[in-house]
């Protein structure tokens, strides 16, 4: 059987944003690497499988020095997916691509170790066609069914509202605020994209962990009198406050 003549299919290329962890080396590189080693000894395997971007804006490195640094990180099981803050002319084809237009997304999230900076590659329109008019991205997410143990809802664009409960072992990670009308037994991480004004509201708090913009509290640090109560949590400076809702 021979294939019938194939019509060339039109290709669509879309841009998409992801949260990546950003490493910012400082001069002297040798000392910085030593500090990194000391840190990873305490949190072995932290970077394994995580997308990492290398921000070189704080240092001035030659092409060879950059290649050497990337190789050094590779030996530490840190895979660099892109380089930021470097002159594209310095980055040869053997190095990860240069990324631009990253948006800060707050400090390192202590829980999932992910949120650090949103990397937004610009979308590449398909050749020969006008890009589709961009529909505004929804800035809130509504979940009508309970969030079960083991499920992870990640919505960096904005608020998340859950009508049911969030089970123990489930997590909600939102760029904005989190509203839970059932019982929160799992984790809620609001303001993950660096929004310190984000809040967490829930109808009944039995949370394992609450986090806003990287500041977190575990169940153990929460006032026992707030347990099973309707609560809200917000940030005042570097302190997370939790109060009953009434």
């Amino acid at each position: 059987m021979t294939d019938p003549v194939r019509q060339p299919r039109s290709m669509r290329f879309r841009g998409r944003s992801y949260i990546a962890f950003v490493l910012t080396p400082e001069a002297p590189i040798f000392d910085w690497l030593a500090d990194l080693d000391a840190w990873t000894r305490r949190s072995a395997g932290f970077f394994v499988g995580k997308p990492v971007v290398l921000d070189l804006s704080a240092v001035n490195l030659s092409k060879d020095a950059i290649a050497h640094l990337v190789a050094e990180l590779q030996t530490r099981d840190i895979r660099i997916m892109g380089i930021e803050g470097a002159n594209p002319a310095e980055i040869g084809p053997e190095l990860p691509p240069v990324l631009k237009g990253g948006r800060p997304a707050g400090a390192l999230d202590p829980v999932n170790g992910a949120a650090a900076r949103t990397v937004a590659p610009t979308s590449t329109p398909s050749p020969g066609s006008t890009p589709a008019p961009a529909t505004p991205e929804p800035s809130s997410l509504l979940l009508e069914s309970p969030v079960r143990s083991g499920q992870s809802i990640i919505f960096p664009q904005g608020d998340v509202t859950v009508l049911g409960s969030v089970s123990s072992g489930a997590e909600i990670i939102a760029g904005g605020s989190i509203h839970i009308y059932g019982t929160l037994r799992g984790r809620a991480l609001a303001g993950s994209a660096g929004n310190s004004r984000a809040r967490i509201f829930c109808h009944r708090a039995e949370a394992e962990l609450l986090a806003i913009d990287g500041f977190y509290r575990t169940a153990e640090d929460m006032e026992p009198s707030l347990r099973s109560q309707p609560i809200q949590a917000w940030l005042q400076g570097d302190v997370m406050l939790i109060a009953p809702l009434n």
Binding site: G150, S168, A170, R185
Partner: protein, 271 residues
């Protein structure tokens, strides 16, 4: 149209196999044809609980790999001629199950039987996901304790995302069966209350099986409790669960073992 039902839980030791046998026998007693399929390849137990361990020649893996026909592997129950068993292999592991092979066997079973009951292995890996893959209905077996409830919650999440029905955008019917319930321990607060379990899992309840020596005895003699001691609290709980599965609306009770209670009383007096 045949119904494919998966009995699953996430956690091990909560009573999946016992419940599969008891529900299968209770369904078969209503006159419908039932096959119970053991998906716990490598750690098969359903044949023991059904009392068919000495009659196994071919198994699920043989059928999947084309070494035997389905007819050769099916074992008919000696007590109920509407009840059949498709045993698992004890010498292989879960990797012997292929997605296509399982789909083919389930499709073939659906033509022959009114009910196909899949006894899922514990865990959330290959064996468990393949057992639930083609299900229309799920019975989630849960003990009233936190670890079991959390694992069941995880399994419900998988049922809503990894099954064929879920991938087509349909909803799989989920029913909760609470097993090993001890009214005394629940009253003393040593177990989660039924209300707590229902609140956390938020799926409809089809039965509460009391912790009972009859269940243990039934497993040891190789007979589903619904056949072995039909008057026991556990057997009545399973029979009621089957009626609810078939859509009957009967009030929820927790059948207790009156006989056992009398024995206890008697035993105490004698001592």
């Amino acid at each position: 149209m045949a119904q494919v039902l998966v009995v699953t839980s996430g956690k091990g030791g909560v009573g999946k196999t016992t419940s599969t046998a008891a529900l299968g026998a209770a369904l078969a007693q209503t006159g419908q044809t039932v096959v119970v399929v053991d998906f716990d390849v490598g750690l098969r137990n359903l044949d023991l609980v059904m009392g068919a361990e000495r009659r196994v020649v071919f198994d699920l893996v043989n059928v999947i790999q084309g070494q035997a026909k389905l007819q050769q592997a099916l074992i008919r129950d000696k007590r109920l001629d509407t009840l059949w068993l498709l045993p698992a292999s004890q010498t292989r592991d879960k990797d012997a199950l292929t997605a296509n092979g399982v789909a083919r066997v389930i499709a073939e079973l659906k033509e022959k039987f009114d009910w196909v009951i899949c006894d899922s292995p514990a865990g959330i890996e290959r064996g468990a996901t393949l057992a639930m893959r083609h299900a229309d209905t799920a019975v989630i077996v849960t003990n009233p304790e936190v670890s079991s409830v959390r694992d069941s919650d995880r399994i419900i999440g998988l049922l809503d995302s990894k099954t064929e029905k879920a991938e087509k955008g349909e909803r799989i019917d989920k029913h909760l069966l609470i097993s090993r319930y001890d009214a005394g321990r629940a009253a003393r607060g040593e177990m989660l209350s039924l209300d707590d379990v229902l609140e956390i899992l938020s799926i409809p309840l089809i039965g509460v099986v009391p912790e009972s020596e009859d269940v243990l005895r039934a497993s040891n003699v190789g007979s589903p409790v619904t056949l072995c001691s039909p008057a026991s609290g556990a057997a009545r709980a399973y029979s009621d669960a089957v009626r609810r599965l078939k859509g009957e609306n009967i009030p929820m009770t927790i059948p207790s073992d009156k006989k056992r209670f009398m024995e206890k009383l008697f035993g105490r007096r004698a001592a």
